[in-house]
C-alpha cells in the first residue's frame, strides 16, 4: 500500500519560491500567471492491512512530523 502526502505552506504564509516562480513564468511568456505556490510531495510505502488503517496512521504521521500545523497544511491519498 502506498500513501502520497502533499504539504503546502498556508495561504497566509509568504512562499518566496512560489512568488519567484510566478514572476519567472510571466517573464518567459506566460503573462496570465497570477501566482504559484511550491509544495512538497512525500511518497510512503506502508505495510498496512487495510486502507482504513493506512489512512489513520498517515494522518498521525502528518500531524506528528510531516507537516507543521503552524505554517503548513497537508492532504494525502492512499493507493492499494
Amino acid at each position: 500500500m502506498k500513501a502520497r502526502v502533499t504539504v503546502f505552506c498556508k495561504e497566509a504564509v509568504f512562499d518566496p519560491q512560489g512568488h519567484t516562480l510566478a514572476q519567472s513564468l510571466r517573464q518567459v511568456g506566460f503573462p496570465s500567471v497570477k501566482g504559484a505556490r511550491v509544495g512538497k510531495i512525500i511518497d510512503i510505502e506502508l505495510g498496512s492491512n487495510s486502507v482504513a488503517d493506512a489512512r489513520a496512521s498517515v494522518q498521525q504521521m502528518c500531524e506528528k512530523l510531516l507537516a507543521n500545523p503552524v505554517i503548513e497544511s497537508f492532504s494525502f491519498e492512499i493507493k492499494e
Binding site: C9, V13, P16, K64, L65, V70, I71
Partner: protein, 222 residues
C-alpha cells in the same frame, strides 16, 4: 553555573557554545548527545545550539524535535528549567512546541551570514536583564531559514505578554514583527536566530550580557 549543551547529528555551533560557557563564562558544561535520556534536573541552563540538525531534512529542526533527548528537555522546561535555543536550537524549540510560531525560509531565499543590529524589546530575567529596554546589541546571524512566522493573534499575544526579547533594527529575513528572539509565556524558554556565542569574545562582545543575565540568577528555584 551548571550547564548542558546538546549535540544533534548536524549541530555545528555546539563547540562554540560549550567553549563560551566553559572558558569565557567559567561555567561547568556537560556535553549531551541527542540520544541521551537525561532528566536535566541538576542543570541551571540547557542550550540547544545552532547548526543543521538532520541536514535540515523536511523542515529545519523537525526531526531533532523528536529526538530522545527532547523528552527530558520538555520535562525540564515544564518544571521551570531554563532552556536556550540558538538558531537551529530556536527552530527545534518551535518545532517541539516549546515556543509559539515557526521558522521558515528567508523571504529573500538566500542564506544570510552577517552581523545584525538588534533592539532589546524587553529587559527581563533571566535572559536580557543586563540590558536596558531599547538598547542595541550586535550579534551575527547565519541562516537560510530564519523567517519567524506567527499569525496576528499570536503576535498580539507575544506583544501583550512581553515575550519578544529582541527585534531586528533592519529585518534581514522577513520575520513577522521584525522578531529575532522570543521567550515562552512562563519566561523560562528563550529562542533566538542570532548567535550570542559568536559575539562573546572577538569582535562584538554583546553576547556576554546574555550569559551574564543568565548567570546572575544562578540556580533556578524549583
Amino acid at each position: 553555573m551548571n550547564t548542558a549543551v546538546v549535540t544533534f547529528p548536524g549541530s555545528n555551533c555546539d563547540d562554540d557554545a560549550r567553549d563560551t560557557l566553559a572558558r569565557v563564562m567559567e561555567c561547568s558544561v556537560k556535553a549531551v548527545w541527542h540520544k541521551d535520556r537525561l532528566s536535566f534536573s541538576d542543570f541551571d541552563l540547557v542550550v540547544l545550539p545552532g547548526g543543521f540538525s538532520y541536514g535540515d531534512y523536511l523542515r529545519c529542526g523537525a526531526m531533532a524535535s523528536l529526538s530522545p533527548v527532547m523528552e527530558g528537555i520538555k520535562e525540564f522546561a515544564a518544571k521551570g528549567g531554563r532552556v536556550l535555543g540558538i538558531c537551529n536550537g530556536f527552530q527545534i524549540l518551535c518545532e517541539a512546541g516549546l515556543l509559539p510560531g515557526a521558522l521558515t525560509i528567508n523571504a529573500g531565499q538566500k542564506f544570510i551570514c552577517k552581523d545584525v543590529s538588534l533592539k532589546v524589546e524587553n529587559s527581563v530575567a533571566p535572559w536580557t536583564c543586563e540590558w536596558k529596554v531599547a538598547e542595541k546589541a550586535v550579534f551575527p546571524i547565519a541562516h537560510g531559514d530564519g523567517r519567524y512566522w506567527i499569525d496576528e493573534a499570536g503576535l498580539a499575544k507575544l506583544k501583550s505578554q512581553n515575550q519578544i526579547l529582541f527585534t531586528y533594527l533592519e529585518n534581514p529575513n522577513g520575520s513577522t514583527g521584525d522578531i529575532a528572539g522570543i521567550r515562552n509565556e512562563q519566561g523560562n524558554v528563550f529562542g533566538l536566530m542570532p548567535h550570542p556565542e559568536r559575539a562573546s569574545e572577538l569582535r562584538s562582545r554583546d553576547g556576554l550580557k546574555l550569559w551574564k543575565s543568565i548567570r546572575s540568577l544562578g540556580k533556578v528555584a524549583s
